[in-house]
Structure formats: C-alpha cells, structure tokens
Symmetry: C2
Subunit: 323 residues, 2 copies
C-alpha cells in the first residue's frame, strides 16, 4: 500500500489538483474552473467528484494507494481556522469555512489549508531546493507577490494566521497604488504586473518610441513579452528587469533583517529571466544589508517544477504538524 | 532554597548586572564601566569578582539562593555561538568568545548570550506585558533601534543567529545615512538620535527661529529636550514626535506583514512621550496594512521597568531552552 495525499491549488480562474506520493511525485492531476459566481457548496461537490475520479484512476492504474489527507492552497487561506477569508480574486465573498465544508465529504481525512505562497514554502522544504534548511523564505512572483516564511523548520503563521505577506511591505513610501489600496507596496513593483507598470513608466520617461515595447498596448503587454524583448536587447525591457531586481533586493534586505534566513527562494514567471533579475536583486540586497549579513544569504531559484509546485506544496501541508 | 539567575547587560559605557529571582524581581544589582580598551580577559575577571560579591551579599541578607545560570545581553551577541561579533559600540574588536571565557569562571553554570533587544523580548514575555502571548515583537528605541521577535513562544534567531534587526530595514530608499553605513534605514529616523536629526531637519525646513529648539546646538540636543519642548507646545518638537511616529508606523507595518504578531511592544526613552508617539505610529501603521490586518494589532508600551529591563531580560535567557 502506497501512501499519498491530495494537493489542491485554488486560483482565481482555475483550480488545479493532483495526487502526490511521499516523494513529491504527482501521480495524476486534473483541473476545473473556479466558479465565476460564489456557489461554494456546488463547487465543493464538483471538486469532490474530480477528487474521487482521480483516486479511482490511480487505484486502477498503479499499486494500491492510501490517501492520508488533503492539503489546500488558496488566496487568503487561513491555516488556523481553515477558512478562506475575503479573498479579492475569488468569487467566494466574505469568510468561507472551506475545510469544514470539505470535511462533510471526507470526514476521516486530515484536511489542511493555507495560502498558496505558504504551500510553496512547505513544498520547497520537503521536495525542492530547501531540503535540510530550517530557516528560509520564498517569494512567489506572479500577478501579485506572495511569500512563505520558515523558521526553525516550521512555517510561520503568526497570531492571526496571515504571516508571510512580504509582498505588502512598503517599498517606496507614497509610491504606486497597490491592488490592496495602499501606496508603495513591494507587490506594485516586483510582481509581473509591476513589471508591466515599470515598462510603461520607462517608456514615458525616456519617450522611447524605438523600443519594441512601444508598439504594444497596456492591456496586451505582459512579463513574457518584456522578457522576449530583453532577449533581443531592447533597452527598456532590460531596464525593467534591472529595476525590478533592484526593488526586489531592497525588499529582500528587509526580510533578511527580520529573519536572518539561510536563503531566499524566488519562484514564478519573472524568475525565468535568471541573471537578468537575480543579479540586480542580489546586488541591491547586499547594498542594503548590515555588514554582518553581507555575502551570506543566498538568493536561489525555486527547485519546484512550475506546473506542479502549487499542488505539491499544498499536498505537503498534510505532513506538517503545527498548531 | 530559592532559585535565581544572574542577568548581565553589556553596554558601550556601562555594564549593569543583577541577581533576578524566578518572578523577575531584581534582588540586588551593581554596575561597572565597560572597558574603554579591549582587555577582554581582564574585564571578565573583574566581572566575575562583582558577580561573586553580589551572590555573597544576597546569601547573607536573605534566604539561601541557588544560582542556576547566567544570561547576558550584549550588542551583536550571537545566541548560537556565544560570541560577541564585531560590535561597533564596544571596545572588544572582532569576534569575542564571551560565553566560552565566562565558562572558565563558571564551568557548572548554564551561560547564554544574545543581543540586548532579544533579551528584552524574552523579559517582556516572561515578566512583562507579553505574558501569555506567543507571537509578538518588541522595538527598543534608544541610541539605535533594536528589535526582538517571538514566534510560537520562541525567540527567532534565524540561520546566523542575528534575526530581529528591524531597525535596519529600509524606511526611505536613498534617505538618511544610518550608523551602519547604509542609506535610509529605520534606525536613522526612529531612534532617539533620529529624532534629533528630524528636529534639525524641521528647524531648517521651516527656518523656525522661534522654536525652543533653535537655541540648542546639535551636540546638546537630545530626545529628552525635544520631549520637554513638546510638553510646552513647541511646534517643531511636537512635529518631531508626529513624524517619528509616522515613520515608525510604516516600519511596524512591514513587520506585521512579515509576522502577523498579536502585538508590538515599544520600549525606551522616546516612548515616555506616550500618545505623542503612539498615536501617529498606530495611525501610520494602519494606513500601510492589508485590510485583514487592520485594527487587529496592538501597539503597547513595554511593561518592564526601565532601569531593570535589560538585566531582567538577560536573566530570563537562562530559562529559554532553544536550539
């Protein structure tokens, strides 16, 4: 009998789920649309149908498996309460008792929920580049910027269950409007969306009509297009990565001064650009550090497979016993 | 037999030490000059003479006591190694194996060392306003700004042993030169020294020759004088507290987003000004927070007695078993 867990990642558009074995291998995966309207009970019933199908399919195709639990990553997921609370990108409004509702379908399984970045941190520690590390942080760069903090081998949830929101630390006082409504948060600069905003700021500043990016509308531009332009040597696109890295490095230094981590992992689309973003981030972080931290903290790319990371991280929640 | 511990606080000028019982009462205390030149072995021998005298005096005057250990708070004190490492304000240069050297005098006692702000955090948790709290942070506002972080009831040391340096997070990118050489750190704005710098900035900005502070030289001015002027209604002095609070609140919001604490305690001279600094700090922190943190995190004055806090905090280190 092989043990395995279900990992579920709930996103604004898609919900991705899979069965993950004890080594972090995804045995099978599936996805469904996250509903556009807030029919939470219907969604959970549909979800359980997909889960049951996956379990059946694995039982037919491989050795027998025993499902030991379900781990869920969701925006504003609260580990302590098992609730999804006021998630701006989801159609489920207010406080959703997600774990409680899942329990009605799986009363005998251990069911754990946290936010997606925290799930990535746990995945990184159990199956990724942070194996054996006891103090590290992961930043996930996507539409927003999430983060997960590990101290002494445990995920930090804090008093309210919402620790690790480093994307909402203040980077530039009075600066860009963040999606949360506050001015100057790191997320408004270092997310994929932030990179687009930077590109348009730079186009304006330099009146750079010769840039490849000058041909593209605001709504069409994304981090991938900026990356492709950077590979072609476009000066504005290269500058976007440089500035994003510099801003990120300033934010990482704040995290280092709080937590003295062994390493900071970066995860997500923009990290594909490798040195283009890692080099300025490293340089800027070092510039902002106290002398005794200098040249000690590694900035590393996540070792989780991009497509599977969210599922694998969520599944690993089941193994992390914390209160 | 009453159990007690020795608490030692090593400062740039004075070393203060005392015997502390299990309830946090200081049974006796003493102080000596921290040497101006780096004779570390001589200093430790002198320190042991003072310790032994204190122990004798308590044994004569009260019930019998059993000393169970020695806790030491020192700038750049590293809990993991027991070393004081490159402390800029001390005459001991480089890496000083402080605990190891103390062990030669007290081979049978448990001896623990950390930095002064971490010691305050432990003191606050064991004997102060944080009793029963498992997730909180303390900021100590003095010549510099220190901080100590408690997560799940344990002090956060991090990988290198130097976590909790929130005073060196970036507050204003490219801003004031911090004592550590980096631009824009929180300490350069929110310490007692930072307040003096703010006063002079405001005097210059408003050309405020009518201010009480306009009569005082840079080297004479200190936070106490600013406070007294504020009590008299001096506009510049009042503005110093307002701006200091606003800056501090921005920094505290960053800490909240990292750690989701139950409360943040403020300790040190400038906190005597109470509402003058707490109100703008609270307001500014709230302004920078994600919606789900709003109106949840308390900013509280430390409940440790000012004169005893460092000793009491250091003594409590002995009871904190952590690796």
């Amino acid at each position: 009998m092989k043990k395995a867990t279900i990992g579920i990642d709930i996103g604004g558009t898609n919900t991705v789920l899979g069965i993950v074995d004890m080594k972090g291998n995804v045995l099978t995966k599936n996805s469904m649309l996250t509903p556009k309207h807030g029919e939470i009970d219907l969604f959970i019933t549909d979800l359980s149908v997909v889960i049951n199908k996956m379990v059946e399919s694995v039982r037919h195709s491989t050795v027998e498996i025993e499902i030991t639990g379900i781990g869920i990553g969701a925006p504003n997921g609260n580990y302590y309460t098992g609730n999804i609370e006021y998630a701006p990108n989801l159609s489920f409004k207010g406080v959703i008792h997600f774990v409680e509702k899942m329990k009605t379908h799986y009363p005998d399984l251990k069911i754990k929920l946290t936010n997606d970045a925290n799930a990535s941190a746990i995945g990184e520690m159990m199956y990724g580049g942070a194996k054996g590390m006891k103090n590290f942080v992961i930043f996930t760069l996507g539409t927003g910027v999430g983060s997960g903090i590990i101290v002494n081998g445990n995920l930090v949830y804090g008093h309210e269950g919402f620790a690790g929101e480093c994307g909402h630390t203040v980077l530039i006082p009075g600066g860009r409007l963040c999606g949360c409504g506050v001015l100057g948060h790191l997320e408004a600069y270092c997310s994929a969306t932030g990179m687009k905003r930077t590109a348009f700021e730079l186009l304006s500043y330099y009146n750079a009509s010769e840039s490849l990016l000058a041909k593209i509308s605001y709504n069409e531009l994304d981090a991938k297009i900026i990356y492709e332009a950077a590979l072609k040597g476009d000066r504005i696109a290269l500058d976007v990565f440089k500035k994003t890295g510099e801003w990120l490095g300033q934010g990482l230094a704040n995290t280092v001064h709080h937590l003295s981590p062994e390493a900071i992992f970066l995860f997500g689309g923009p990290t594909v650009a490798a040195d283009l973003i890692f080099n300025p981030a490293k340089e800027s972080m070092e510039k902002h550090l106290l002398p005794f931290f200098k040249n000690k903290i590694k900035i590393l790319p996540s070792q989780l497979k991009h497509g599977d990371a969210a599922i694998v991280g969520a599944s690993a929640l089941v193994f992390m016993e914390q209160d």
